[in-house]
Each structure stands twice: as structure tokens, then as C-alpha cells.
Symmetry: C2
Subunit: 475 residues, 2 copies
């Protein structure tokens, strides 16, 4: 919060927005109000103009996806991505660029995963499109083969716990289409991916198949991290595409106990290895030792280009810096772009950044993340108390021309949330439209061609506008 704007406990509410209706007015008692002016509207328009006409976000994403590609922690791709990050932050005219080291898990897929069925009617195609889950153990080179037990929930698993020894458990829990916000469907279903293997291993199962966490009409399997419980054997676990999951479910229901699945994967863990957050800064003019952070994660799963997850967030964050610099804006606070390491299977980069900031005694106003895809923007979440959130509602009139119409209470993403815990910083994230995210998430089709240039850019416009407003008015 800019101290000049604080007049005791209440600042007169003053809203001048070019052409905007006065429809959104805070309904709750307000202790702090944010002035928004025609000057703000014009400055944000200049940010939009440079991003929509001279923007580098899409071309930077093209370079990342097509010349670097997949970049899982510890892989050669990740180190190539680190170089890309430093170069593009330089091209965006960051005042300072550096690497922040952290140790990251190094999981390796070890070749192509495969799975097939036996016990089927003659002439039926038996292969399944699968991907070993991240952090999964492999099967050994000869693979494993066992009867499949079809399970729809952890409750059902418990009911069948005496029938699981030596079996392969197939979790076929659907991605619930009734959640309009698809991240809620993901939150509902992801426990089977995260915990399903150990829950099944507890009862003697030797392998796990998990229906992909997806709303897709396609059959691409969607990988993602599992978390082993060290109390139980680490059994291999694969994601199965939706068509194949439906098909396998039918086969097992038709002939319970008669269908066997063969699984083979060379997946294995290597020792932890050093990697880096890539950081670029615009130095603040008034409060250079107070920080506003904006970022996405640089790592991706190995089977795809990581275009939506989270190349988009990286290039949008870099674009915020480029655009502010391009229009000659000199921030009051230091603005940092962070390309976080190891979000996908460890979260080490996010934790490292917050810990290092704490160790250095840094003051952080905001950690803003974009890790929900580069889709058309709708909202930001911010971890603000109600009265502060009410005070900034007038900002919506400045963002709405570019698509954001809600500033909601909520957390940040997993890379900035440690800043809340460690530093007491406000955290938040861009909430673009969620309908297409789980078409691509952690799957082979997360490629540049499934990112729309203008949607990506409009996300960056709103992020730049929010960063500007926080820099000007504080939080």
C-alpha cells in the first residue's frame, strides 16, 4: 500500500475510469481504498498495445517448445531451458539476471512404457495407451503381468482389500463433468493418481493403472506425480487414456477375474541433482528492496512440449517485464520474474526461492503465478483479507476490457505459496478459463499448436496491469 494514499483508516472512494460503468462497488465495510484513474486506464492500454502488437510471448513460447521441448527436472532439456530463460530475460531487457541453485529429484522414464491385455475375445486389439506416472518405479525389463481388479473409489478398494494380493488395481474414477471449474474435478480425482499406488500396495497389489485426470474427447494418457508412502512397497503405476479406460472397464466387467494386464516400464529414480530457478529483475526506483514477484515454472513433464503447462506462464511472466520496460515504466518496487525449477515432481524451486528470500530478510508485497494455462483470462485470486479485497474491486474496471472481471479470494499456485508461509507475502494467481486445460495437462498434446496466441497475450496484459497497480498502490 502506497503510504501517501492512506488517510487514517478510510480513504475517500474515488473512481474515474474511462468509459467504465460504476457497477462494481465493494459491498463490505472498507478500510483501504485504491484510487484508479484515467492515467491508470491509459497506461494499461499502452501495456496492452505493446503486448498485442510487438509482444514476444508467443515467439518465446515457440522457441521454448520447438527448440527446447520437454524439460523434466534433471533432464538435458531442463538445462537447455535454463539457457533459454536467461537469454529471453536478457532480450526483455531485465536489469539483472541470475540463477538460483536448488537440488531437484531426477526421475527418468527409461524408454517407452507399454501395457496390453490378455484373456480377451479373439482378434481384439490388446494394447493400451499408457504413461508411467511421474516418480513411479518401473517394472523391470521383463515387465509384470497379473489379473486386473476394477476399482471405482478408495471405499471400494477397502471392500475388496482381501482380493488384491498379486493383482493389478485399475482405478477408474471419472473426472466429474458437473464441476464447471475443471480444477475442482481435478482436485476431486487426483488422489487416485497421487495415492492410489501405495493404497493398493498396502493390500499386496503389484501394479496400478489409473484413469487419466482429464475431460478430453481424446485417448492421450495424462501423467503426473504420484507420492509413495514409504511404509508400503513401491509398485509401478500407469496413467491410461480415457477411451482405453472405458474399454478396459467394459472388458473387466464382462469377465471379472479373466482379464490380465501386462505392464512394462523402465522408470527409475536417480540421485538428486542441481538445477536452478532463473530470475530476472527490474530494479525499483523508490523501494528497491521491496519485491513483487511474477512467475511460472520452467520444468515440464517429459512426453510433451509443456506449452500450456507451464511454458505459457513463463513467457507471460517475462512479457510482463518486457512490456513494462518497453513503455518506459519505472517501477517503484523491484519487480522479479522467476522461472521456477521442479514444480512438477518436487516443488523444490518454489520452496528455495521463498527460503532464500527469508534468509536475506527481503520484504515481498506479492507473489503472482501463472500456472493454469495460457487460456483466455477471467480472474485473479489473491490471498487478501476481505476488506482489502473489497478495496481493490475498482481495479476490475481497468482489467475488464482485457477479460478479467473478478478479483477473488484464494491462494497462489504451488510455486508462490511458500512465499506466503515463509514471508507473509500476499500470493495470487491468474485464473484463465479452465475448460480446455485438462485436454492437454501432462499429455502428449500439450504442444504449441494448442496455445492460442491472443489468449496467451491477454493473460500477459492482465498480469502486467495487476503488477502495475500493485506497484503503484501497494496491497
Amino acid at each position: 500500500m502506497h503510504p501517501k494514499l492512506l488517510k487514517g483508516n478510510l480513504l475517500l472512494f474515488f473512481l474515474v475510469v474511462l468509459g467504465g460503468p460504476l457497477a462494481v462497488v465493494a459491498q463490505t465495510p472498507v478500510t483501504v481504498q485504491m484510487v484508479t484513474t484515467t492515467e491508470d486506464s491509459l497506461l494499461i492500454r499502452r501495456l496492452a498495445d505493446t503486448i498485442l502488437t510487438d509482444g514476444r510471448a508467443y515467439e518465446n513460447l515457440r522457441l521454448l517448445t520447438k527448440t527446447v521441448g520437454a524439460r523434466l527436472s534433471g533432464s538435458a532439456g531442463y538445462y537447455k531451458a535454463e539457457k533459454w530463460g536467461q537469454r529471453v530475460l536478457g532480450e526483455a531487457s531485465a536489469d539483472k539476471i541470475w540463477m538460483q541453485e536448488c537440488m531437484v529429484p531426477h526421475w527418468v522414464r527409461g524408454g517407452k512404457d507399454s501395457a496390453s491385455c490378455s484373456g480377451l475375445p479373439k482378434d481384439m486389439i490388446s494394447g493400451l495407451d499408457v504413461l508411467a506416472l511421474g516418480n513411479s518405479q518401473g517394472t523391470g525389463s521383463r515387465g509384470i503381468k497379473a489379473p486386473v481388479v476394477l476399482i471405482h473409489s478408495f471405499d471400494e478398494l477397502e471392500q475388496h482389500k482381501d482380493e488384491l494380493r498379486g493383482k493389478i488395481v485399475f482405478y477408474n474414477y471419472p473426472f466429474n463433468p458437473l464441476f464447471v471449474e475443471t480444477f475442482e474435478a481435478y482436485g476431486d480425482a487426483v488422489r487416485y493418481r497421487a495415492m492410489g499406488a501405495s493404497r493398493a500396495a498396502k493390500y499386496g497389489a503389484i501394479g496400478v493403472l489409473v484413469r487419466s485426470m482429464s475431460s478430453s474427447v481424446t485417448n492421450f494418457p495424462h501423467t503426473g506425480a504420484l507420492l509413495y508412502n514409504d511404509s508400503f512397497p513401491k509398485i509401478p503405476a500407469f496413467a491410461v487414456g480415457l477411451h482405453d479406460a472405458d474399454w478396459l472397464s467394459e472388458q473387466v466387467e464382462r469377465d471379472p477375474g479373466g482379464i490380465k494386464v501386462f505392464m512394462r516400464s523402465g522408470a527409475h529414480m536417480m540421485p538428486d541433482t542441481p538445477a536452478h530457478n532463473i530470475i530476472g529483475e527490474l530494479k525499483g526506483t523508490e523501494f528497491p528492496d521491496q519485491y513483487i514477484t511474477v512467475g511460472g515454472h520452467l520444468d515440464s513433464w517429459d512426453p510433451a512440449e509443456g506449452a500450456q503447462d507451464d511454458g505459457a506462464g513463463c513467457v507471460q511472466s517475462i512479457e510482463v517485464l518486457r512490456a513494462l520496460k518497453a513503455i518506459g515504466y519505472r517501477p517503484r518496487h523491484t519487480i522479479r520474474v522467476v522461472l521456477f525449477a521442479n514444480e512438477e515432481n518436487g516443488g523444490r524451486g518454489g520452496r528455495k526461492y521463498a527460503e532464500a528470500a527469508k534468509d536475506a530478510g527481503e520484504k515481498h508485497l506479492l507473489g503472482l503465478e501463472s500456472d493454469n494455462g495460457g487460456f483466455t483470462p477471467r480472474a485473479f485470486t489473491l490471498s487478501l483479507p476481505d476488506e482489502k479485497l473489497a478495496a481493490i474491486q475498482p481495479w476490475i474496471q481497468l482489467l475488464k476490457p482485457y477479460g478479467v472481471y473478478e478479483l477473488e479470494r484464494g491462494g497462489g499456485g504451488s510455486d508462490v505459496n511458500p512465499m506466503s508461509r515463509q514471508l507473509g507475502a500476499t500470493v495470487g494467481e491468474l485464473r484463465p478459463d479452465s475448460q480446455r486445460y485438462f485436454e492437454y495437462h501432462h499429455a502428449r498434446n500439450d504442444v504449441l499448436e494448442n496455445v492460442n496466441k491472443r489468449e496467451l497475450e491477454l493473460g500477459a496484459v492482465n498480469m502486467a496491469a495487476l503488477i502495475y497497480l500493485v506497484d503503484k498502490y501497494g496491497l
Copy 2:
């Protein structure tokens, strides 16, 4: 407007929405208010549930795009689409289905259009990806060849009017990325497609190339209707893909007067031919002779599947009827789904529908259209006076959980606007997010694969909800 809800000039404002904040309150003086209740919220949730779980919109679109495909007025595809429309309206349990005949233009592309350059540096590839504009005359089988004049605006055309005789005019007017709402960029650029041929023919040009009206990163040419001015010769006109337009522009700038283009097209007009609007009805229980119409257009351009334009609007409209019937809702007014004929190159279906309704003395409350693609919903426009629009703003709280957060003043699309002129009906349209529409509009990539199932369904949810609210509360 339901008469029971009118209490003199002002109805007490009463808003009960499950879990919704009371943020959006009409700011203008209000003469009519719409009650919205928990009952409304629950009924709309039931509509959403059936559309998101048992919905037929996507499967119907798959059938239309993959078993019918392109369906330009007068083509065999169009008559196949008429059969599809009758069948799926039957499956959606319409009480009554019929065909409304109208005469439509019958333009035929007549084979593959081609264009290439000469006068280029050696070894340079000379072909251009082009599509003759709809309604364009062809070139004759031997084609035409002439020097290219590069033109950026009609003003520039006038400045060069003495240099155009015997030439091919290439309009390279960009799709302005600064319009956040892409339909504004389209409205700005489309005059070169619509009027460019006759404006150039006036000064003796023999052919026209037009930069595609698109924000795409691809090179697909985007066709669409041109309108000849009968005072001038009807010269052939082609759309050029964006990459090729940039490239051709460079070549002409490098060597003005030195580049010739060859154009060949077999396009020609046939005599007008009969076609039909396909109409399905749910009979009203209280006011069976008062109508609410919802529709999209059944015809499409010939090079694509017409998935977004406007298969999406057709299947969403049919889904409105299916969902209302599926939850057992019995409408007070008669609800009509209309699959309009000939939107793309004539607008005859929309005019016919309004004229027939006028001749029959029908009373129409609303004509609602979906012809902006099946993208994630954001708004509806309605042709209401300000005070009525203010009165229905509380409805937003019922739509917002499904994506629509604005009820704006505006017209309908070109198929329902005649209902306003002829019948004095309120008209409106779904305004989904516009960022991707001009990637696909009138181009070969307007295919099912570029429609997202959930975005399509959420459009239908909001349309069904709005139709329900209008049926219950009137307008």
C-alpha cells in the same frame, strides 16, 4: 413479462441466489424488476447437469461435421444437413418439426482455386494458398495473369486509380490486433472482402486478392461473401492466407510492377434454388401462440466442416430444447428451434422466417442466436431499452456460475435481426469468448477438432438458462 409479476410501475427488488454475492445491482432507475429465486438457481443447475452429463450437442456436431460436412446453400451437403436437422430435432423430442421453404442463391466453387506468382527471384516457390471469395465470378478455364498492385486501404486505392487498368489489386489490410474483441477487427477489415472487387473493377482492375480476415498464426485462406456492385464488371476475387499475404507484400515492395500473379477459378453462380429452414417446437402451455425462438444457421462455407460456423450454434439450439424437455420443464410460451438456411451468402432463411411469422400474425418475445462460435461463454447481447436491461441484471447471478457475466445492450445476429424489424421482437445473441473465432472462420480448419466439448456445452447451458428465464418472467 409475466403479468403476475407487474405491480404497478415498480416491483420490489427481491434477490435470492444460492451462494451468490449481491454485487451486481442495477444502477439506473428501474421500472420493471425480475424476481430470481432459489427455484431458478436449482432449475438452471438441472439444465446444466443434463447438458454436461447426458448432453447431445457434441455428438450431434460430430455427426453434422463428419457425416454431412460442408453444406453451402444449394449444394448436396445442404440437403443432407436438412435431413440431419430433422432427425436430431426428433431425437431431442420436439413436439413438432417442419421445413420452411425459401429460395437461396446457388454459388459453386467449380474445382480447386489456384494462384501463383511470376517475376520472382529464381528458385522461389511461387504458389499461393487461396480460396475464391463466395459469390465471386471465376476466371475462365485459362485463368488470368497480370501485374499486382499492392493496396493497403481504399484511400490508397483512390490515389492509385489511374494505375489499376488491367492489373490485379492486392488488398493487404491487416486484422487489427488492438481490438480485444476480435469481431471489431473483423468489422473493420471485412469491407475489403465485401466491396474490394467492385471498387477495384471501377478503375479497370481485372482481379483481386484480399488478405484473409484473421488473427491466425496459420496460413489457411479465409473465404466469405463478396458483394458485387452491378455498375462495374464482376471480376474474380480470392482470399490469401496470412503468411502468403506477408510474403507477396514483400515481393511486390521489393519489385513494384515486376511481380505478376496468375489466378484460376471455376467459380460461378447457378439459378436460385429452393432450400429450407428446419424448425422444431416445444408447445407452450399458457401462451402457445407466443414464441421464443433460438437458432443458428445450418449452411456453411464449402471448404470446411462448418464446426464453429455455425454447426455449434445449431447443436446448442437443439440442446436447449432437448434439455428443457429432459428435465420435464413445460414452457409457458412456445419455444422454437430454427436452423436457418443461407446465412453465409444471402441471409434468405432469416428473412423468410421473420416474414412468415409476420404474415401469420405471430407474437414473438425473443429471437436468440448463436453464431459466434461454440467458445466459452461470456455474455449475451439483447436489443432491450436501458431500463429493461437494468431490470434483468439480477439474472447475471444465475448465469455467472456457468460463465456468462454480462447482459449487454446489442443486436442479434443476422438471422434473428429480421425478427426485430418485421415483428418488433427483442433479439439477442450469445457472445462467447472471441479470441479463437477468426482462427477458423470460413477456413479449412473450421473442423470438429477445433471445438471444445465443454465450451460448446456451457454455451448451451447459458442459452437454456436465458430461454427459461425469459419464458418464466417475460421481457
